[in-house]
Symmetry: C2
Subunit: 201 residues, 2 copies
């Protein structure tokens, strides 16, 4: 189909599609003339993915580029992949292994992670620092409790990684990392409203 038909089918303006092409988020169509190209269902699927990443996924164009590149050129092992997925979304903190609090956090929580996990650990450290700076005191045992809940979620998710094809595993890991986050946060707020109504309502 022509770009106009692609725009009509996906309800995305032609100018926006051209922007995605320039930014290498969308792969080129098959050229049929100097100013014309043919697009197919792979472009429709990719456009849906781009909209999901940039919209509810909340990614920047640069982060979406990294995610799409990971899907196109997946690393060999699924474990490697998970690291790439995490850093595609949040680029590794350069000074992660030089932060004393990161090491302290790893030992305090008994985390079983290697250097690849340092950037997520730095993100946790940043979050704790922000709480400190805002003068917010976590209730006793809160950090351990949160980690325990997240470990149950992670176990469920990793148990469900499809291993039949690399592409399926990549999609699951990358999209699961980015797109499940807004779902979890929305469910937390819903659950807080329920719990608040029970206690204070």
């Amino acid at each position: 189909m022509r770009i106009s038909a692609l725009a009509a089918q996906t309800e995305i303006p032609v100018a926006t599609i051209k922007f995605y092409l320039r930014e290498n988020l969308l792969h080129e169509g098959v050229r049929t003339a100097a100013t014309q190209a043919q697009y197919d269902e792979t472009h429709v699927a990719r456009l849906r993915l781009i909209r999901a990443l940039l919209g509810p996924g909340g990614l920047s164009v640069a982060a979406a580029q990294r995610v799409i590149q990971t899907i196109e050129e997946p690393p060999e092992s699924v474990h490697e992949l998970l690291g790439v997925a995490a850093s595609a979304v949040a680029p590794p903190a350069k000074d992660a292994d030089e932060r004393p609090r990161v090491r302290e956090l790893i030992s305090r929580l008994g985390l079983e992670i290697d250097e690849k996990g340092y950037s997520s650990c730095a993100a946790a450290d940043d979050a704790l620092r922000a709480l400190d700076e805002a003068g917010f005191e976590l209730p006793a045992g809160a950090l351990e409790f949160y980690l325990d809940q997240m470990r149950q979620i992670a176990q469920f998710e990793i148990d469900n990684v499809p291993t039949d094809s690399a592409t399926a595993a990549v999609r699951y890991v990358v999209l699961g990392t980015v797109l499940i986050e807004p779902l979890l946060l929305a469910l937390r707020r819903l659950a807080e409203q329920e719990a608040s109504a029970r206690r204070f309502g």
Copy 2:
């Protein structure tokens, strides 16, 4: 202290402090001359809060304004407050109660929420729609499992709401909503790296 001393103490440039003043994020100091004002520890504390909200909290200036306004003029009941906190961070979706999927979600998950919860429910609906559009299929039972984990987290959090003063409750609820989110997401990624290493490493 003068604005220059405030800048030195907080390590925030004078121009940035002036921007926060113009945007009503920071309260005015006590005027001592046409172009001079005195600032105190309340300004230092507020600047820390602003940085936490705009930085790791990931809020826009408009959302930070809503959060700070809620802290300054707290509603009467804690339950009311929680609703305000949620909508301060994510403004209520206007069409929430007109979406058939929101009602369907409420009934499918057996959620005990009233109209105030519709905007969080719309956020969950948006997240599910984004997963659909990206072609991501949630494993069977995943939604119920996620909700169950978030209910345990919410129960823990609501149990710990301080009730000794309205200000303390507001800070806990508003900051807890915004600043715990990046912590939970970072812990989820850490836990995924552990689980992935166990299964695939």
